[in-house]
Amino acid sequence: MTTNSPSEKRLEELREQAWKDGVVAGRGVDVAGGPIPRKPGYYGQPVVKPPVWTWEIPIYFFVGGLSGMSAVIASAAVLFHHVDLARTAMWLAAIGVILSSILLIMDLGRPLLFINMLRVFKHQSAMSMGVWILSTFAVCVVPGLIALELHAHQVLGGTLGQLMRLVAGMLIFGSAFFGTLLATYTGVLIGATAIPAWFLHRLLLPIHFGTAGLGSAAGLLELLGHRLAALNALGYYAAAVESALLIWLSVDKHGMADRAIHEHGSGWVIRIGEILTGPLALVFRLFGQVPLAAISFLIGALVSRFGWIAVGKVSGSDPESVFAAERL
């Protein structure tokens, strides 16, 4: 069927390569209906949709995680009588929750309708749960901070003061409960979607986001002057967990299904983030460089969030990853 002209020979070579590799790199005649496998799926069009979120969301993940875990540290601090630490932590939590709300509202396509988020409570929607977690957390944190400050400055005396202490305690423990969920639910948020690189790592993501939040809160508190051994211990703990997660992520490959992580630049952003929160932070702490460890951890936690969103965009635009994920 083919003649011996050079263009025919080149076409034959391309065919051979295509059959071998399943894909052809480089320029060639992109023939409709031809034997060379062209772009996968339907003209390489995405099968699902990549996320439409912009920079507000990864920053929110970072800030919200830090804020929520800050409340956890605050409650532990309160229990063990570190009132100053508790106060700083609650301030971080409160500022964090306000910042988070602003970021989320900014990301909405119709920001003025943000209040519609509270129209329903849906357990099958991670975002609905997240909205209620955030709201309840805010309701605990801000009054809790006020109560704590009032108690710390001994503004009210007597029974009222005792009441204030009780209220503060309840609110702080409430904040801790909802705060820890605030830090981890975001992993569920992106893990329970149709994006292959996300849902294939839905066990890892909540652990990572939560622990990154804990380590970020501890690190930031340390940078703000609270050089406590407990925080150092939490720093070690977080870095160790992050290191383990880095190893897990690197070996838990799913071939084409999550190649956005393992073959694409966005995956490197995640890994760089995890190196900063994991081994590097660990090494810094081992060498007693606490501020450097904290900074490394904080930067890594932020970078990793950006990485995960970027990976979502790549994976969501990749039809082959969807097909491959379904074959697993």
Partner: protein, 286 residues
């Protein structure tokens, strides 16, 4: 059937909304002529803005994919296979199969809809006729539905298009159906490739058509209605020639809520462990 005029389910008035009857679309590419009347009718009725003027070079498909401003999308597949017993071109130099398949894609209106489950404002709901509808006055454009659709249908409309910021998709012409009318795309389809009607009727008809096609030599005709997955079937289903991947359709779509259990378990575990870690840290390292 074609040419039955007002007797056809694509033309006659109905009371499905009032009677709470589940409706559907059955799309048959073997009679589709790729005219795109469905795309245009949908846009005209629903005032959907244009989706860009980019020539793609992908056969005659310059629409690309479904999205916030494309609710009906005709696919054009040029393949090295046969359409049934069709004879294409000279047979002199041996078998040289070729076919051009057209298929009108649309929101699947899933039995278990990822977008509906994901929507935190309750803007997306199930109507009396079983379709999935976005209430655009409630939607605040959070974009969570966009990543929750296993078929990549719904999207958030970007600036500077009109009504930007909200999520949009096929409404199943709910407003028309409330008045007893048929969706715009089904009404204009000249060859009744898109058939609108009662879901159970359509499923029976599709099954019959599939058998008929198999018997007349369309060896790769199959029904695409993933009832055995967590999506539990789709109300806008298709008869396709060849494998779903060629149409950009996922062979085994899943509604992402199936991932919630394991993800929440991990989240709760982490939450609890984090609190314990904090307590222990303060307990032992104070």
């Amino acid at each position: 059937m074609i040419g039955e005029g007002i007797k056809s389910s694509n033309q006659r008035k109905h009371s499905f909304v009032q009677d709470h009857v589940e409706v559907g679309f059955f799309t048959d590419p073997t009679v589709c002529i790729g005219c795109k009347a469905c795309e245009v009718a949908c846009k005209e009725w629903n005032h959907v803005p244009d989706d860009g003027f980019t020539w793609s070079g992908n056969s005659y498909d310059n629409t690309g994919h479904l999205g916030a401003s494309t609710w009906r999308h005709v696919l054009f597949l040029e393949q090295d296979r046969r359409k049934g017993q069709q004879i294409v071109g000279s047979l002199g130099d041996g078998e040289d199969p070729f076919r051009w398949v057209f298929l009108s894609d649309v929101c699947k209106h899933c039995e278990e809809a990822g977008c509906l489950e994901a929507c935190p404002t309750g803007a997306i709901l199930r109507t009396e006729v079983g379709s999935v509808l976005v209430q655009n006055d409630v939607c605040n454009g959070c974009g969570y539905c966009v990543v929750s659709c296993p078929f990549g249908v719904i999207d958030r409309r970007p600036e500077p298009l009109p009504d930007a910021g909200g999520a949009f998709k096929c409404t199943f012409c709910y407003d028309r159906q409330k008045s007893g009318l048929v969706p715009a795309c089904a009404k204009v389809c000249p060859t009744e490739s898109i058939v609108f009607g009662r879901l159970d009727d359509l499923r029976a008809r599709a099954s019959q058509r599939g058998k008929q096609l198999q018997e007349s030599g369309y060896s790769d005709a199959q029904l695409y209605d993933p009832q055995e997955t967590s999506v539990r079937g789709i109300h806008a289903f298709f008869l396709i020639l060849g494998e779903p991947e060629a149409y950009g359709l996922p062979p085994k779509p899943q509604v992402p809520t199936i991932y919630l259990k394991s993800a929440w378990t991990s989240a709760f575990a982490t939450a609890v462990v984090s609190i314990i870690a904090a307590l222990l840290a303060f307990a032992f390292f104070s």
